[in-house]
């Protein structure tokens, strides 16, 4: 018993100060929100577009556009770019409310997730229960969702909790491209959630199918099957990105209230 107490003492308190304090430092090589600078693109160059495994990168009249909903954050584009027109920053805040908002353009800020509408906020603002369903997921987004339950992130302090039964849940969190073999179970799980309910797509697979996009065995993400309320890009998203998205939805971020989304 005494050894357990001593060890407890030694391990100390490890919960991060975020969001009231600053977020823990991310590694130098962390690939967060990409920033594009079309003005650097050499005439006629399409190296990044050709290099991208998932066709996330494209060019239209306004210049380069990068769809975070398809981006694997694999850095094939930055590596192929002869003029450093693409840079992955250490910005982990990337969650948005609508699919179109995931498109990053040169010189345009990301339209980060707005809080839920007043009525939903009243219902879920102080208590949100999640049922996570992996539908063809590779296990990594699931793992980093689990991480939110550790002492480091301590999701419970925000009134957010993962529950076993969909009957007890307010939101369905989906990971994976939605395999054909999980489609029915996913829809049944959604149906079992009492209304009003939310759907949160975590990771590139759930948003667009990721690297499996257009495979006949999968459904290109959850978007065509269920109404998605929050999109959290990443492959998989960093736990901080997921936490940020959830807190934005629940209007729990100081910065969000101080400076409304630009």
């Amino acid at each position: 018993m005494i050894s357990i107490l001593l060890e407890r003492f030694r391990q100390g308190r490890r919960t991060i100060a975020y969001p009231s304090g600053s977020a823990p430092a991310l590694p130098d090589r962390f690939r967060g929100l990409p920033v594009l600078d079309s003005s650097r693109c050499p005439e006629g160059c399409s190296a990044c577009i050709n290099a991208c495994p998932t066709d996330a990168m494209a060019r239209d009249a306004e210049g380069l556009r990068l769809d975070l909903g398809r981006c694997l954050f694999c850095a094939e584009c930055t590596e192929s770019c002869p003029s450093n027109a693409i840079e992955f920053t250490k910005e982990f805040r990337m969650a948005v409310r609508s699919r179109e908002d995931l498109v990053v353009r040169s010189g345009k800020d990301l339209e980060r997730a707005r809080p839920l509408e007043a009525k939903m906020l009243r219902l879920f603002g102080r208590s949100l229960r999640l049922r996570v369903v992996s539908a063809g997921g590779d296990g990594s987004a699931e793992a980093d969702l689990n991480v939110l339950g550790t002492v480091v992130f301590d999701l419970g302090r925000f009134g957010v909790q993962v529950v076993a039964s969909p009957r007890h849940a307010d939101a369905l969190v989906v990971a994976g491209p939605v395999s054909e073999n999980m489609k029915y179970a996913l829809l049944q799980t959604y149906a079992a959630l009492p209304a009003p309910k939310l759907v949160i797509a975590v990771g590139v697979d759930a948003i667009s199918g990721g690297v499996f996009r257009e495979n006949p065995e999968i459904h290109n993400g959850v978007g065509d099957l269920l109404p998605v309320d929050l999109f959290i890009p990443g492959s998989p998203p960093h736990p901080l990105s997921i936490l940020d998205g959830l807190l934005r939805l629940l209007d729990r971020l100081e910065e969000q209230r101080g400076e409304p989304a630009s």
Binding site: S3, I4, R8, R10, Q11, L26, P27, D28, R29, F30, R31, A51, C52, P53, T54, L72, F73, C74, A75, E76, E79, F88, V132, V133, S134, A135, G136, G137, D138, G139, S140, A141, E142, A143, D144, L145, V147, G149, T150, V151, V152, V162, A164, G176, P177, S179, E180, N181, M182, A185, D205, G210, V211, F212, N215, P216, E217, I218, S235, P236
Partner: protein, 512 residues
Amino acid sequence: MTQHTLLKMRTGQAIPRALLPRLSFQEFRAAILSLVGQGHRIAAFFGDTSASSGGDIDLHAVLTDSAHGLLRVGRTTLESDRFPSLTSECPALHLFERELAEQYGVYPEGHPWFKPVRFHPSYRPGHDAWGRDQDETPVVGVTDFFRVEGEEIHEVAVGPVHAGVIEPGHFRFQCHGEQVFHLEISLGYQHRGVERSLVGGPGKRTLSTMEVVSGDTSIGHVTAYCQVVEALAGAQVPLRAEAIRGIALELERLANHTGDLGALAGDVGFLPTASYCGRIRGDFLNLTALLCGSRFGRSLVRPGGCRFDLDADQVGRFQERLDMAYRDLEGAVDLLWNSLSVQARFEGTGRVSPEAARALGLVGPSARACGLERDVRLDFPTGIYRFAHVPISTWGTGDVFARAYVRWLEIQRSVAFIKELLQTLPDGPIQIQSGVGPLLPDHFTVSLNEGWRGQICHVALTDDQGRFARYKVVDPSFRNWTGLALALRDNQISDFPLCNKSFNLSYCGHDL
């Protein structure tokens, strides 16, 4: 010259497909059974229709001879949609034969446990091993389940959506009160069509696909894939890159083993270790992110080397953080071994006998926990493991305790190995400067790697253009799920989470 047995080759070697011995089915069967009788093990067993324009099915076998570090390979052409099953004589083939039947619509006659694996339509329209109609798409989970009948016998069905943040699978228990007579595990919910999407590659998506075969084993699978490509391209990876790959592979092991020890503690209600290990697992993931920016090792390993290097300053920080994490982990895990309440729950629970483990061909820590000495890093060393060695960790009791304790032994050895590599990091480039050339046409190669769950086996056959005509992935989970089913026999159903976590198998790696 006609050969009547399987050809000897090595991992990392590419041989022309024409050299693959083509045996009669009788010879093929006799060769496999005789070699397995001599202690060789099944690594892969799969079908392929790319060799003939007529759609003939070639059956390929890859066996491992760990005593000599050799592979034995060969093939036979199936003459009809039926062939005599080998499973009764070689149980390690049971799932391979079911997979083959499902993919190519051929029936292994006499298979004792003949059910679909992933519930997808056959690759050959019109040929179905279960005689299902061509228009009838298989429905996942719809199959005959084994049933125990009798007074007071009841059945418990769980999943695909089951408690926790976990992948989906279906579990059926035949119980008498709390006692489990039999557990049947039916998967396939995570099937994404990995193998078929690889045909025609390597392409833009191939590397990223390998990273998510099983998302917690990115380094393991990508390294196996890169070794396939490098063998087929005749590329020599710089030693420094091999060292970094080794560091990353061991970090993957550390993170997952640590997480599992914490989860095991959680499943017996021992919360101190559960919460410490949950955090320390993150420390190891963050070390991987220090290396490559991704906690799951994405974008680090690539054909020809690695994408990221470690400079002297990073090596210093790396070492420091590894030491800190290990110190915390030691304290957290010691509590496990010193708490009688934990030991009482771990010991004797979910026991798998060495005989069963050997017959089923279990791999990785699950096999080593049954006292079987099998570890690819030792038996078939590639990359940096040819120069630096990780001693093998075994324990003989085959129970939850053994699977937990083997993890802890491996953690200690992986930490020592990483530290050794950091101190002796070879100089030089981390990538082949000129890049990796085109792949040899009409060749065959096999790569083996010891992922944290055990043996990862990739086999590639190229076409006349040097593209993948067939790519076979064997994830260790494919070998071990039956081990979990056996572990539950005569145990309490309430111990299922504990037993499950002690294996912690991948659903997506199995379902592909």
